[in-house]
Amino acid sequence: MSCTLGEVKNRADFIIYWGGNPAECHPRHFTKYALTPKGKFIPRGRKDRTMVLVDIRETMSAKAADIFLQVRPGKDFEMLTILRALVKGQRINEDAVAETGLKLEQLQDLVARMKAAKFGVLFFGMGLSMTRGKHMNSAAALTLAAEMNAFTKFVAMPMRGHGNVTGADVIMRYTTTYPFGIHMGRGYPRFNPGEYSTIDLLVRGDNDATLVLGADPGATMPKPAIEHLKRTPTIVLDPKVTHTSRLSRVHITTAATGISAPGTVYRMDEIPLPLSPPLKSPYPTDEEVMRRIREAVQRKEPWYPVPTSAPQMT
């Protein structure tokens, strides 16, 4: 259960950031949406809001928090589940609480504040979605928010990555129904995270070549993935020469989107924003390059049999 960021600005009086560090990673989040701006129903801005930060260590974001809860690394799922139980008034095992590194009173206080809120929002980051439990943590956070709706208005939203990852997700979904990890090799979309997601494919060496657009896997991925990128043809399209460019066969410099290339970017809450580039660039846009590559591929003779009539479909 989610909302666009304007709803947060206008209504949210209780904010939880979990496993994220907006002060450093989403620097305009506090001032544009979540903490300081005056909203339609939040006339005093920051004064009308309470912010709780849940993380394994005190980050820069803790300075802005009213309450900081230091959860033990790898124990987010347990903490979320205990909160779900407390919300429903169920009995809690003391050992379970102790595992999280927090005290029962802290968790009870958090739940009381959540229920007293007029509009609560839980923003969760990679500290939740990428640590022990992974998508199970995200599921637990979303379920907590869903169940809170029996008591008050409550939403949960992921703090999405930079660039236009949200836009890519949106378009993948409307052309294939799946957000990522999509295999088109059989002529229709198939989805299996863990099998078709990027790191898994590269580590296993399943693909023959890689085209990298708007990302820098050479900077962050595990060594076997990088080795595979090195030994197979890798092509990079980027405004800058990246770590990945340095191990690829071809690097094509393209115009920076939003600065000298037009288009649309999807904000982290999936709102499309038009880009009006203020500058010109001597380099082609990503779109131009991709079109020319596609046209060149279409001119090639196919190496696989091409059906001349439609296949039988049940």
Binding site: Y174, T175, T177, P179, T264, I271
Partner: protein, 546 residues
Amino acid sequence: MIRIRNGKVYDPANGVNGVIRDVCIADGKIVAEVDVAARTLDATGMFVFPGGVDVHTHIGGAALNFARGLIPEQHRKATPIFHSQYRRAGIIGTTPTTFATGYVYAGMGWTTANEAAVPVLSAKHTHEELHDTPIIDKTCCVLMANNEIVLDLLENDEQDRAKQVVAWYVWAAKAYGIKAVNPGGVAGWKWGKDCKGLSDVIPGYKKVTPAKMISSLAQIADELNLPHPVHIHCNNLGAPGNASTTIETMKILEGRRAHLAHLQYHAYGGDDWFTMRSAAVEIAEHFNANTNLTCDAGAVLFGNTVTVTADGPWQHLLYQLTGRKWGNLDVENETGCGVVPYVYKEKNVVNAVQWAVGLELLLLITDPWRICLTTDHPNGATFWRYPEIVQLLMNADFRKEQLKQFPDSTLSRMVLPELTREYTLSEIAIITSAGPARTLGLTQKGHLGIGADADIAIYNESNDVAQMFAHPRYVIKSGEVVVEEGELRKSGEGRQFAVKPEYDESIEDFLRPLFQQHYTMSFENYPVSCDRVHNLEVHACKYCGK
């Protein structure tokens, strides 16, 4: 140039009812004659229908795309579409991908669709998806009944300014009409509440009621001369006993035209889930008497689907009832959406009543021009199952067979067993094409008269009506054969229709500071520019009905 020779033509808008005659096409339109050089399609033994027009469906945009992401386990089992020279790859299932949507509608002989719910804030997203929906022509309706700027104006009785704002929004979204979903209820849901009584004050306000919003929007649609009347998803959807809310809504609309969406979901009697029953007789009676109204069926079919609607509070209830996955996305200042995967089961008494009510409304409403065939895709059933409904309407014996599976305790909640009416082919052409085209005010659609768009479906005559309507022999769109021998041929991109209602440009001075305060996007970035709407055709604001 094409000549369709010797087919049995059904063109109810022009009084043609199963007459064997030729239909000629040139330059994308129906013409009186073509010369001998024209391609000839031999339609001997076939029926020739105007292409289907879907007046209420959800085929693209933020809410439907949200639904796609929620159900990957369903997509795995869905029929895929393989990439080929003429086809982009895709997945059909309950929330078809954009390309698949165009192909499957065209494959069934449906050539125009109205995306029924668009938030202005994400209208650019909707238009992107409609751009990638090939072949069919498209319109969309923009959500207004929970817009906070409009609510604030109505609270202060600023009726005229509200009209300027609505007109501005319709053009900003590049929309074709106005949609109202659970007026006041979705605004209440922003605080976790609903608004079920039409005279109740909307949560967060002191004066304005759903009744005020409904009558204001109906008045605005009339004053702006929109070709399609205000399109209303009534309050209290899905609840036992909600027929009284629907009848009250009809009373509020007296004297004004309006289109009631998916009427099936708003035609229940009873006091609770145990006593829930059909109130189709009562609803049909009032509807038949109120000739200013049109509606679409919103019929339900048994099977798996996913519910997608702007009615956020209803979806929260459905989540609590079913325990299934629930997605919700509130849109600042405007509306929201809720998504819950759902299965309609024969053994579920409520679902059985819902199944009956859709058919009862189609059979009890006497004027087929005023009720359109829909399932509120994907809510009641996916659109590619429309032929099953056609079969149920045309064949009373087949209906009787289906009714045998229900126990007496279920049958006593419905009147369907008593209904013997059978739809004729002409009436089917009306509810699937001519009627919805007229309701939408698309004068060039839904008929085969000279000058009409050449959107035509040609069916092999067959006793198996469901099979017949599911597999047309030929489908022509804008004068080009797009489906032939069960295969997709060319794939044009279709057009999008919008309207530009008249408004005083100075309303932007009123809106700009409000945007600054309450939205999170700059005012300049908000409207959809014309170049973002593919093959845009702006239609005149001209109500063409009676």
